[in-house]
Symmetry: C2
Amino acid sequence: MARQAGGSTGTAPRSIDVARLAGVSQKTVSRVMNGEQYVSGDLRRRVLEAAETLGYRLNHAARALASGRTRSIGVVTLGTALYGPASLLMGLERAVRDTGYTLRVVNTVEGDSTGIAGAVDSLLDQGVDGIVISEPIDEEGGDDVAIRADVPFLVLGAPPPFTAQRVVTSGLVAHQLAQAATEHLLDLGHSTVHHLAGPQRWYAARDRMEGWRATLAAHGRGEPPVIVGDWSAASGYRAGRELAENRDVTAVFAANDDMAIGLIRALLEAGLRVPDDVSVVGLDDIPVAAYVTPPLTTVRQPFDAMARDGLKRLVHAIENPESDPIPVDDPPVSLVVRSSTAPPPDRKTAPTRTTTVPRRTSV
Amino acid sequence: MARQAGGSTGTAPRSIDVARLAGVSQKTVSRVMNGEQYVSGDLRRRVLEAAETLGYRLNHAARALASGRTRSIGVVTLGTALYGPASLLMGLERAVRDTGYTLRVVNTVEGDSTGIAGAVDSLLDQGVDGIVISEPIDEEGGDDVAIRADVPFLVLGAPPPFTAQRVVTSGLVAHQLAQAATEHLLDLGHSTVHHLAGPQRWYAARDRMEGWRATLAAHGRGEPPVIVGDWSAASGYRAGRELAENRDVTAVFAANDDMAIGLIRALLEAGLRVPDDVSVVGLDDIPVAAYVTPPLTTVRQPFDAMARDGLKRLVHAIENPESDPIPVDDPPVSLVVRSSTAPPPDRKTAPTRTTTVPRRTSV
DNA sequence: CTGAAAGCGCTAACAC
DNA sequence: GTGTTAGCGCTTTCAG
């Protein structure tokens, strides 16, 4: 399948070589390789054939130099293997294939004060046509970083953490995720829902918290104090020890599954039963969520759809600098009900749920 | 922090602009930007200053075209958010910063028969100087794909899945991981250890299995039949139901934590106690491993060290085509003992372990 | 519909 | 130590 590198001479064939073999001008080869119109079917065929026999491969560096565009998109990630960010990155890679662009990935250097700005800078340096901030966070300084660049940005799931022109922001998804989790608990009969939030530097964490808050307000429920974790199961565990002392707590929405699992562990150690005494909802649906004890009720993020929609809009902004942006198409979130949630202890009417493992197979 | 794009004119400054401002030749600017020697400190200073005021940014496309090298490294990933592969990718990103190269990431298209070869091809197409196969697997066809390319390859943790020149393979790590897990169980007094393997297309899975097998042999123990899963907790659960029927099973080494968690879940549902009746060791030390019930004993992979060592050797091969490869420096693996392992039921002497959660904080 | 000429911004040899 | 001269392999004008 893989083409041979180099011809008989050892040097890679150029478009002019293809042109000569096909008996056309080099420009015609260029037209064919770029799928431009106004090339007769006959010539196109001959060019393609010549390219095939020569094992021709277009030189992207030359193309970029001549055209001023690299056809690559840069992604700023946080450099963690957390399930959410990692899944988003994979979704982006999957989605980018259909756009004709390639991906350049850069982590924000942890501990570096330049943070996202530094990562963006290095991407700009490499000459990308657009940039994706996959998990926006606030910088240490607190001030919005002023990033000026001539390429469009896609900021996933949050308002842009900086000032830049042509920013294509995506989504109320985080809000919907929190709403689904909170309403599920409310529907079960809990009078209110506690929240174990993610680190507040993350927009994702703040948005989920806002969604929870708005949902409680919409239902006229009181808002208990928020506990803030750092996404880790360890922080969930600490929060759990705290919550276990408060007998009023009957329902908790944790901003991610890892924290939910740590939380449950602490509750269990404190002698509380889950879900009989306290219900817990997570967020992410990590691969093991269905197999911990008790199997975790959680909310699943539409990573692939988010990546696809966001990239589509980013590419549109890249290729149509002047035109209006494509409207956001927020994909639906889905609640996965398992066995960590139940009606509150007081008014329990339904029988205790069995802890049968649901049918899920995906890796 | 971020430089302004474009000068007053709106066009990006070129090296010749810097040269004029600094009053030197363009070649001198080039020398300075590349950190070459034979430039007086004075000139270097002036050039740097001029570049700074102009907001000069080297054009990588032009450099690549002129030099024939892109200073980028391609990574072939499997496109899963599994903890292991995702962590390795993050480790590679972290490690690549120190080398002066950038990363291009491509997933193997799932279901595409060209698989790794196709991904490599697209990377070659983009013009990378070297390629990393981060999680080698066998192709559907079964035959080794003949990949001929003029760039060196780094195949992490396994022998190369194809024939290519200048391949820098890395490691016996998988073998050591399996050995650590198996010996821990043997040391506890178990007469033998069962193995729940990963999908056999993956070299990582086969290597772990070989390590387990070799360790049993070295201790003169019998080798029970292997059960094969697919890395998922669901497959671990299925394996657990099977193993639960065999009362001879007292110790299981699962090839990753997800399967271990699914396995434990099935064991618990079958009325068996972990670790009192059956001990289980996982592999990866995923973030929630310390907080499931019981906290999981597992083996941690040295992702960052593997990535760093591998990349160092790959870059050496890129920059010194003729010289000998740098020898592999396999980093140490570490066993994390928690509460899913104990002596076998028969000869148990030590008291049942408490299930206190150990002190781990990392995300 | 097709072709000819003119660079894109940098590095690689060579001179000085 | 430093400068000069040629391209690298494409895409862009602009003619036909």
